[in-house]
Amino acid sequence: MSKKTLIPIGPYHPLQEEPELFKLYCDGEIVRDIKWETGYNHRGIEKLSESKTYDQVFFLVERICGICSTSHPFAFANAVEEIIGVEVTDRAKYIRSIIGELERIHSHLLWVGLAGHFLGYNTVFMWAWKYREPVLDLFEMITGNRNSYAMFRVGGVRRDIDESKIPEIQSVLDGLKTKTDLLAGAVMDDPVIHARTKGVGILTKQDILDYAAVGPTARASGVAIDVRKDDPYAAYPLVNWKVITAEAGDVFAKAEVRLLEMYESVSIIEQCLKGLQKSAGQDIALKIKEIPEGMGMGRAEAPRGEVFHCVFSDGSNSPARHKIRAPSYVNIATFKKACIGQTIADATISLAAVDPCYCCTERMAVAYDSKSGKRLMNARELTELSFQRTSEIKNKLI
């Protein structure tokens, strides 16, 4: 084996907005091996959730991710409603789906822009983000917030969408369609983009199954996995839409899937708006007095894939245990498969292609000794270890 160079991506790197560390062991420009380290961003949300009431947890989980900030409340609502065993009204379902799909559009537009930026195509970056702006304005009109919408509650939603707002939403959607056409044209037909993304970072169907990848990452490799179809929730069984898949599994296929999904989302929202007109007069939220004992699992299709929330209730006003699995947690692992053997230039875009979100992914692991069942590292030991490491580094520097 020849000597390898370590090319770090992170802890702070222009490729990613969040802290993480990928160590690429390179032979010239070719990546031979990678290691990844996270843990810069852990916030202990699952633990925090146990100290909050069910109403407060919605605002907490909304802040897990800034971009797909409605998918976590969505999944949490599904989980809690499973414990109670209620189904929300049609009107609430439509409103939930509208919010979920608008979020998908804005998240995919954001990704297209970032992917352009990673390829050095800053014009696409700026244009995509400009086109995303009306969507955020729409959010502000509907929910009062451009981000972190605070729309969900147990048993329904917090705000209604007035009949009077529907034409304006429709006009934004129409504008969005032409803009998506323009963007899709610019991306899909550009020969240089083809040269940069086709055949790059290929994930085969088997890889997807091995790594249990979800969302657009899986769909771009021909695995039609989508929680909205597989485990229908909210208004998705009430409207007509199809799961977009592509076969190639490369970066281009992932871009294609995301761009085409935006059209599907627009069509879902349009149908939901019609549904809103039909379900006029219904309550937007059920009156929930208490949460019974039990366990509930909720899933939602976030823009990046399946979000999974598992909630244990002991009958009190806050969850006894709250487990979250975000899509990036499984998707980031596919990077190892996608990038080994590629050049550095390809590795960066294949990492970006799964649209990783590190703050969703951060976990804390607790190790127990398998024989005695004793916990191996407690807080004090970890703190001491940290002091020891710091002093070692200090000595080295001096």
Partner: protein, 310 residues
């Protein structure tokens, strides 16, 4: 002697080329911003950038590697670019040097900034910088042949004349070289060479921000980085000026023609800006292929056309 120093440091050398280049850099950034629906920087932004780096920011030296080479390389790049600038700009401003082979000297001098970057970045001992340097090296190898072919084509068109003065006067007497088919082909190849020489997208892989975090320049800071910025400003002026001299009959410095001269430079810079804003960055392998096959082919076709008198 005194006049030579004046040529080098004041006009048309260091100060003049740097100031013009800084304004062109503002123009490039402003156009980029307008293309991207942004507002863009104020007119004096390049000067703010430069003087902040030069006077305010501290210069951090890498612990590994050689600090002397690391710091000298940017200075060499400035001098190389200025030297090339003097040789390009003197004939453009109708100052005869009496030097009969300046075209080839310009060709060599124009590579000095790139080589200085490579040497400086390798002296920093940073792995990302070494990746950037290796990319820049491959890029130089690929575009330099094309650039030489373009110059060879121009020399043939001018009737085996090797000096910029006569090339400009031939065009001013007849038609500019871009007015023929072979001229257009050479111009296309030349523009792409400029793009690569200036390190603009799609050929900015040596400093690819999102891959290797500015690659070659990752360890430069403060006044050392200011020197690199200065080189970039100078190159952004002298390379388009060189293209104007080779293809668009240079400058005529009386009356309304001064406006034309400015316009020509701006058109070339605009072309570079538009190429950089409508393309993603290519991989180094693709760039090498692009120059080695397509651009060389275009240049050779143009030379064959010249031989047949088109």
């Amino acid at each position: 002697m005194a006049i030579d120093l004046f040529y080098f440091f004041v006009f048309p050398g260091l100060i003049f080329a740097a100031i013009t280049g800084a304004f062109l850099s503002w123009f490039d950034r402003k156009i980029t911003a307008r293309v991207q629906f942004r507002k863009g920087p104020p007119l004096l932004q390049p000067f703010y950038d430069f003087f902040k780096l030069l006077l305010v920011k501290e210069t951090i030296l890498p612990k590994m590697g050689s600090p002397v080479v690391f710091l000298l390389a940017p200075v060499f790049s400035v001098f190389g670019a200025t030297m090339a600038g003097v040789f390009i700009l003197l004939p453009l401003f109708n100052i005869t040097t009496g030097f009969r082979g300046d075209l080839l000297v310009i060709f060599y001098l124009l590579t000095i900034p790139s080589f200085s970057y490579i040497i400086g970045s390798l002296a920093s001992g940073n792995p990302l910088a070494s990746v950037g340097a290796s990319r820049e090296m491959k890029l130089i190898i690929s575009y330099e042949l094309t650039f030489l072919l373009v110059i060879a084509g121009i020399i043939m068109k001018a009737g085996q004349l090797f000096d910029l003065n006569s090339i400009i006067s031939i065009q001013q007497a007849g038609t500019p070289f871009i007015g023929s088919l072979s001229g257009v082909l050479l111009f296309i190849a030349g523009i792409f060479c400029l793009q690569a020489k200036l390190g603009l997208v799609p050929f900015d892989m040596a400093e690819a921000e999102t891959e290797i975090t500015e690659g070659m320049f990752i360890d430069y800071s403060g006044s050392a980085y200011a020197m690199i910025k200065l080189t970039k400003y100078i190159m952004l002026f002298i390379l388009p000026a060189f293209i104007v001299a080779l293809f668009m009959n240079g400058f005529r410095l009386e009356g309304i023609n001064i406006l034309w001269a400015i316009l020509k430079i701006i058109v070339v810079v605009l072309l570079l800006t538009l190429i950089r804003n409508t393309n993603p960055r290519v991989k180094i392998k693709q760039a090498v292929k692009f120059f080695a096959i397509w651009m060389n082919l275009i240049a050779v076709i143009a030379i064959v056309l010249i031989a047949f008198g088109y």
